[in-house]
Symmetry: C2
């Protein structure tokens, strides 16, 4: 747990000014982008004063917003989306000050999992409602089941294949979550239903949008309007495995996009070729990771594929604190080209996904994977690395 | 610590028989390989009886033996090489039963480091003598220095740039280690001076040897004699980065070679393309990893190169238990082709070397490394993965 929220602020306006001579104006809300006259209408949120600010080059990096379902009671007090530092602080303050007993989390993605962990650690009674068969639906359902089991093991009450239909409220405060199967009384609701690009401002200005309403950009981070750039959660990125534009709201991708946009706006040259779909999370002592394509994506793309799924250990079996690890690989039938991978396991499991991510970038085949000179010593791995074992299982099915 | 040595036995002769119908004869020592008559002279070490056993196909997997320096006193009691389960048990028994106070380790490679850790944990006063400038000379000296510091921090007395010249003995037992600079009184000596291929038997039979006396094999694990195969520490393997045969004594490589030999002897087809030189170790809470070529190897090969060396953290900086990590990358000047990498850091540092090993197999350049979609979440990594930060530093020098 991080006690001091100040530690979570990457850079203050003062640091921006001192280190980079950047005039970072907080509490300034852009209300309108005027593409013709190349200016922004800006409202100072503390004074309410509105001014027009000219620009030559504009980077739109408006991020994303939590998806809020259009159901009765959604505007009640006690319902929190968590995708900004402030929204996280709000939840912490409520937990500290109002000592809620029960929480319901809607959605079993990364935010849902991480909030479940945080609230279980704060001794709340936590329920999680997930409309899919399993939590973490960026994993295949067999791997997602391992995550569902981990949630239940730490005490989360899990309701799968259930959809939110309404919130019951009393005097403007949430009292219960209503699903298509039951009513769950609660003091606190966390929305973990994902995010969407925050692109209302760009859309109003006529900046072309693409996938899922994200701003269309090329690999230089240029929008289709001269001198207008976009980066981060509000923008598209290219999915190297799907070979099409994609929207993903992850900090590491946003940072890469921001770097490329910054270099290009500054007169340099950089490109961001795209992502392979890597993500990691954890629920207490269970680590979860995925990269590339999952089965349903491979099927949607019309590819034939094989899988290799194994259970092994994170360290040599005899080594203290050796834990279980499950690895699943997907590869193209025939060619053996790696298509994706998923890992669920104990400490030391998740970061291994980076081997698979690197292999995807390099378009390695299972034959190559089998012979990778991955590191071995008893504290770190069994003598056959779990990834290689999985590749050996998959290659037999080619 | 592993309490029960039985756990370290991968397979007993009984398991071999039951699971794989393999007749594993322990306590049978091969004394001679007769290539003309295709037979082995075998001595049963319990009875002393000698017989001739015929073969059609022969796999030589005689492993390696600890290098024992040819200095006065080397045959004294109390001097141990550690490269078999039994030799490890011997050291443990001595520590348990004789309660030695002082130990001197000769050599600061993997075995030296691991024995230093083990003996420090057993409360011995441990000295380590290393003839090079730093321990772990498969690292560049700047990275090796970090490991030397880690050793000293846990209480190991470190004597660098010192060479063993003799052992002082009394009544056949070792009393002190003599170097070119001092005399270190001791109760126990561990030889960590590396291993050499155990190929006396093969050599006597006329099986051609290659690098460092290891048995010459091709990528099928065939020796130059029809029907004779070799695998493991006694055999050569191909170094993909050096592009020449090499000898490395590591369990993971030996296992890969054994698998390939077994498939081919059984009438199947498999190849072992080679290694990139990956290895990991640890000294208490400091993890050490390397892959590819180090600076002196790159220089020996006559390549021009750049380096990128950074210090970062294993997790997000604000995350509990975030530790320091040092990453150094070497890449070919001009092309940017990755040549090698070294990592020293706290928990979670070492296994990241696998990303670099995979990148070496795939011949990735620094430009590609910068854009790798490596996993990020605060418990696992800063938002810019340390490997990517190192690649960004190195790429600027191309």
């Amino acid at each position: 747990m991080v006690d001091d929220a100040e530690k979570l602020i990457a850079r203050t306006p003062e640091t921006f000014k001192e280190k980079q001579n950047i005039d970072a104006r907080i509490l300034h809300e852009v209300r309108e982008i005027d593409l013709k006259q190349r200016r922004l209408r800006v409202k100072k949120t503390d004074t309410g004063q509105t001014t027009w600010e000219p620009f030559e080059q504009l980077l739109v990096s408006t991020g994303s917003i939590s998806i809020r379902p259009d159901v009765p009671g959604i505007d009640a007090k006690g319902i929190y989306g968590v995708n900004t530092l402030q929204s996280g602080l709000n939840v912490r303050r409520v937990v500290d000050e109002q000592q809620p007993q029960k929480a319901v989390i809607i959605g079993g993605g990364y935010i849902g999992l991480e909030m479940a962990e945080a609230l279980i650690m704060r001794k709340l009674e936590v329920s999680l409602v997930e409309r899919s068969e399993q939590v973490m639906n960026t994993l295949d359902s067999d791997m997602g089941e391992l995550v569902s089991e981990a949630l239940m093991k730490v005490g989360v009450k899990l309701y799968r294949n259930e959809s939110l239909t309404a919130f019951e409220t009393d005097n403007g405060s949430v009292q219960a979550v209503v699903t298509d199967q039951r009513t769950l009384p609660t003091d606190l609701v966390i929305l973990g239903m994902g995010v969407q690009p925050n692109t209302g401002l760009a859309q109003d200005a006529g900046i072309p949008l693409g996938v899922k309403g994200a701003i269309k950009v090329n690999d230089l981070m240029q929008t289709e309007i001269e001198g207008i750039w976009a980066a981060g959660d509000c923008a598209e990125c290219y999915h190297l495995m799907r070979r099409q534009p994609f929207h993903i709201a992850l900090g590491t991708v946003a940072n890469k996009m921001g770097r490329v946009a910054g270099i290009n706006i500054g007169g340099g040259y950089a490109t961001f070729p795209g992502i392979v779909g890597t993500a990691v999370s954890k629920i207490c002592d269970v680590e979860v990771a995925r990269t590339g394509l999952q089965e349903k994506e491979v099927q949607d793309l019309g590819l034939q594929y094989v899988t290799g799924k194994i259970e092994s250990s994170t360290r040599a079996g005899y080594y203290p604190d050796s834990g279980r690890i499950h690895v699943k690989l997907l590869a193209e039938k025939g060619t053996g080209r790696l298509l994706g991978g998923q890992i669920v396991g104990k400490e030391g499991a998740a970061k291994r996904i980076d081997v698979l991510a690197t292999a995807l970038h390099a378009e390695l085949t299972l034959d190559a994977m089998i012979n990778l000179d991955l590191s071995y010593a008893p504290p770190y791995s069994p003598v056959w690395d779990p990834i290689i074992i999985a590749a050996r299982v998959a290659v037999k099915k080619l």
